[in-house]
Structures are given as structure tokens and as C-alpha cells.
């Protein structure tokens, strides 16, 4: 048995994150850690240490799939890890992220009003008003929280669905953060000679 390290327990962070966002949507901002850390590690250190060690979501999928056997454990369809789908999904994800920022800007400039909903699967509006008291912070801060939490929740649900259908970590095959950081790392190491094995 391999000795457990502190970062082997980061799957608890993912559960805590969604629980906190259920209680108070402003905690959604903490998700920026999961967004910025992998990018900074890839840009400045040229590695995917976040995926390989610190990703709570990946670990949670392993816990549910490997430990609790909530998976059919059958081969992931080839198209799900094809370059076309992976980069296509990344572009789609970045577009939805951009739209979320734009909505935040509209609320901030009073062009539209705050929507206290979580948007699941990019279309389904689920009321989430219990998690926020109006006026607690400027509306744009709350709008960003709802938007960001929606993205995190949607991608987590997708991860759980593909985990159940295929392999525990099938989500990692097309996770936008994984694709983006791998592309950055590949670019950074383009002049290095890869090892033989």
C-alpha cells in the first residue's frame, strides 16, 4: 500500500465546495482556486501537477468509481477522447465561461438584474434563492457566484454521468481544464527531448 499524503484527501474539498455553495452561493468564488492553480502550474512550471495530485474532482470520481463501484467500468467511447471532441468541448466551455463573465458585466452595469438561479446543463434554470440574501454584496459579485457555481455543478454532474456510464475517470478524458493545461504543457515542452520509455 502506498503511503497516503495530505493531497490524497482533496476529494473532500470538492464535496465541501458544493455543500458550501448550497448554503451560501458566495462560497462559489472559492472555485477560482480550482480554475487558477492548474493554469498557473502549467504556465509557470510546465506541469499538470494539479491533475496528477491536487484535483479534488478527479479524486472524488475515483472514490465513487473505484472504491464505491458506482461505474459500469466499460471502455470510454473513442470519440469522447478524440482531439476534435476534446478541443471542441474546450472551446464550448470557454464560450460559456465568457458568457458568464458577460452576464456578470451586464448586472454590474445595471443593464439587467440579478438572477438567483443555478443554470444546470446550460439551459435548466433551478431556483437557488435560499443561498443568498439580496443586498449582502454588490449584485455583480452575487451574479458571478451563481454563474460560476452553475458551471462547476454542471461539469461535476457530467463527470458523474460519464463515470457511471464508462470508467471512473472518463471525465478527465475531455475535462476542459485537463485539455487546456495539457496543451499549455505540450507547447512549453515542444523543444525538449521526451524520454524513451
Amino acid at each position: 500500500m502506498k503511503k497516503k499524503r495530505w493531497y490524497d484527501y482533496l476529494w473532500m474539498w470538492t464535496i465541501l465546495y458544493f455543500a458550501l455553495g448550497f448554503y451560501n452561493i458566495l462560497f462559489a468564488w472559492l472555485g477560482m482556486i480550482d480554475f487558477l492553480v492548474p493554469l498557473l502550474l502549467a504556465i509557470f512550471w510546465g506541469n499538470k501537477r494539479f491533475c496528477n495530485r491536487y484535483c479534488g474532482r478527479g479524486q472524488l470520481l475515483s472514490q465513487l468509481g473505484v472504491k464505491m463501484k458506482c461505474t459500469r467500468n466499460v471502455a470510454t467511447p473513442r470519440w469522447l477522447y478524440s482531439k476534435l471532441f476534446r478541443y471542441g468541448f474546450l472551446v464550448f466551455f470557454l464560450a460559456t465561461f465568457g458568457n458568464m463573465i458577460y452576464q456578470t458585466y451586464l448586472v454590474g452595469s445595471c443593464a439587467t438584474t440579478l438572477k438567483e438561479t443555478a443554470t444546470i446543463f446550460w439551459t435548466l434554470q433551478v431556483p437557488w434563492n435560499w443561498a443568498y440574501s439580496r443586498g449582502a454584496v454588490p449584485d455583480w459579485i452575487a451574479q458571478f457566484s451563481f454563474g460560476f457555481y452553475s458551471l462547476m455543478l454542471t461539469s461535476a454532474l457530467l463527470g458523474v454521468i460519464v463515470m457511471a456510464l464508462y470508467k471512473p475517470r472518463t471525465w478527465c478524458a475531455f475535462c476542459p481544464m485537463g485539455t487546456m493545461t495539457q496543451a499549455i504543457c505540450q507547447y512549453k515542452s515542444r523543444r525538449s527531448r521526451p524520454p524513451q520509455s
Binding site: 499538470k48 470510454t76 504543457c185
Partner: protein, 74 residues
Amino acid sequence: MSSRPKLIANVNRKICVACGTCVTQCPKSVIDVWRGSFAVVALAQCLGCGRCAAACPIGAITLRERVKSEGETL
């Protein structure tokens, strides 16, 4: 006499997404992700147990026969 396991892990670098799932499963810690790009195996120490291959979400790892230059008989 062979002193090393006959099988070793073989990574298909072209499809590997560098997720590192295999890294967490290896009992000998002999597989790692090279510069965030793809998984590499320290072949001489690989046990050929296949745990990495079973965990890989996209089947990028297969087991293959070890050849002498990869430390079959030392």
C-alpha cells in the same frame, strides 16, 4: 533465468491525456507524467501488474512483453 516480470506497461503517447490517473494507481510509483504531456514508465522497475492499464480512462496503456534491453535479465 529471467529476474524481471515478463510484462511491462506500454503507454500510447499519441492519445494519452496526461490526467495522471495511472500515476496514483502504480504500487511502485514507476509511472509519471512527463512535463504535463503524457505518461512515461520506468521500464526497468515496472512490475507488469496492469493496475495502471485498468485505471486509465481511455485505454492508453497496454501490457506488452519486456525485451532484454528493458532489463529482463540483469
